[in-house]
């Protein structure tokens, strides 16, 4: 079970409170977790990654176990504590706009 923390506006969009819990088939990579997230909450498609290029939106970043995973490739395996559910994958919206 993978835990994901969404920024507040995406929680509103997905109609969820608190963390999201996902079951991921196969290796738990950054890409497979985001795939599972979008599969369960299709309204999040296009909001975290571009629909077409699948690139991360520039004002969002990925963190886990106090490490910034934003620039890692999609096939990077997530840290063990994230895979075990001890730590969440955090999708963080930047403080931007002045």
């Amino acid at each position: 079970m993978i835990r994901v923390v969404l920024p507040y506006p995406l929680k509103t969009l997905a109609h969820v409170d608190g963390e999201v819990e996902l079951t991921v088939e196969g290796p738990a990579t950054l890409g497979s977790v985001l795939d599972a997230l979008e599969a369960r909450y299709p309204m999040l498609k296009g909001t975290i990654r571009d629909h077409v290029t699948q690139e991360r939106r520039p004002f969002l970043r990925y963190f886990a176990c106090q490490e910034d995973l934003s620039l890692e490739p999609a096939n990077v395996t997530l840290p063990d504590p994230v895979i075990s559910g001890a730590e969440p994958l955090v999708i963080l919206a930047s403080i931007a706009g002045g």
Partner: protein, 355 residues
């Protein structure tokens, strides 16, 4: 935001941000609740017939061979060619007859259509592909398709306007398009009378006379009486003919409203006095409407989608400002009062007459 003329409970809204990109929201209960079309949590990501879900915010330019001449570039600020990149939805225009059909004007300029209530969107690529597309260039606000008018007497006819390419018309339901900018004169472009390149800000139509259109251009207010084939300036005695918004009275097709703005570099009313100007003669002769509007130290702007009229008699007129006020007049503009203030900048004002 825009409501469906065919179903007052059906509303469509476009949200966009640098964080989460484009979001399309839809209400089917007059605005009490909103949803992204076709994307309920926990549902399968494909419909039973295999259509992907979660695509209400997916706007992908049509590059298929069947769409005619799919383009890959337009003109950039420095004159070089630049790829088309989807940025945001500027305007949503629901069909006059079908609540599930909506047209979307987007940046970089193109027109899209949904026929399933916003779940999926397809480009009407003939607009970008008709031939002048590579010459289109963005204005200061981006290269946006901001105006879509549907002809109530001819279901095949659609008008659109693009900053800063100009106005275009389709007579076959959006398949093919042509520029309709003859008579527009823009001194700030290399050829002031060019076929395209004009920074049209907004076009308005009265339902009873769809061949007559009123235009607020970057500078100049104009009208056409032949569906855009020929335009003529009707700025007349306006104190400045720069502005964004323009609209037509609900029952008097020759009564037109604009809000003059000082200049393209100073986006506020002349002398700090917020004045709506009304012409009862289809242009040229304009009168200032000031009763109830701030007449000193007012430095707001009124953006292009921020005026609307109701269908009551006398006609109600409404407009919002970048200062967060929405002003209303229940008597065609003679007297105004704020119905809400202290909002964030108002981008869109939509009025529905329910009874």
């Amino acid at each position: 935001m825009k409501g469906s003329p065919a179903d007052p409970n059906r509303l469509y809204a476009s949200q966009t941000s640098g964080w989460f990109g484009q979001i399309i929201q839809r209400s089917s209960d007059g605005g009490k609740t909103w949803e992204q079309p076709g994307t309920k949590p926990g549902e399968p990501t494909k419909t039973p017939d295999g259509m992907p879900m979660g695509e209400s915010n997916k706007f992908v330019y049509d590059t298929s061979p069947g769409s005619g001449k799919p383009l890959t570039t337009h003109q950039w600020y420095d004159g070089t060619q630049h790829p088309w990149e989807f940025k945001r939805v500027w305007h949503l225009e629901p069909s006059l007859t079908d609540p599930n059909t909506v047209y979307a004007g987007i940046e970089d300029a193109a027109i899209f259509r949904t026929t399933d209530g916003g779940k999926t969107w397809q480009e009407l690529a003939g607009l970008r592909g008709h031939g002048t597309g590579p010459k289109w260039a963005p204005g200061a606000g981006g290269m946006c398709l901001h105006t879509i008018l549907l002809d109530p007497k001819n279901s095949k006819r659609i008008f659109v306007a693009i900053s800063s390419a100009g106005a275009f018309r389709s007579d076959d339901g959006g398949t093919s398009w042509k520029p309709i900018n003859r008579g527009l004169k823009s001194e700030y472009i290399p050829d002031p009378n060019a076929e395209i390149g004009h920074c049209v800000h907004r076009i308005a139509m009265h339902r009873s006379r769809p061949n007559t259109l009123f235009m607020q251009k970057h500078w100049d207010v104009l009208r056409t009486d032949d569906a855009g084939d020929n335009w003529r300036e009707v700025s007349g005695n306006l104190p400045t003919d720069f502005g964004f918004v323009i609209d037509v009275h609900a029952h008097e097709p020759e009564t037109v409203y604009v809000v003059p703005i000082k200049s393209d570099s100073e986006h506020f009313p002349l002398e700090g006095k917020l004045r709506v100007y009304r012409s009862r003669s289809g242009g040229n002769e304009w009168e200032p409407l000031t009763n109830g509007l701030p007449q000193r130290d007012c430095y707001v702007n009124v953006l292009r989608d921020s005026m609307s009229v109701d269908s009551l008699d006398p006609c109600g007129v409404y407009f919002g400002t970048t200062g967060g006020q929405v002003y209303a007049s229940a008597d065609s503009g003679d007297k105004w009062f704020p119905i809400v203030r202290d909002l964030p900048p108002v981008f869109s004002v939509e009025v529905q007459t329910l009874a």
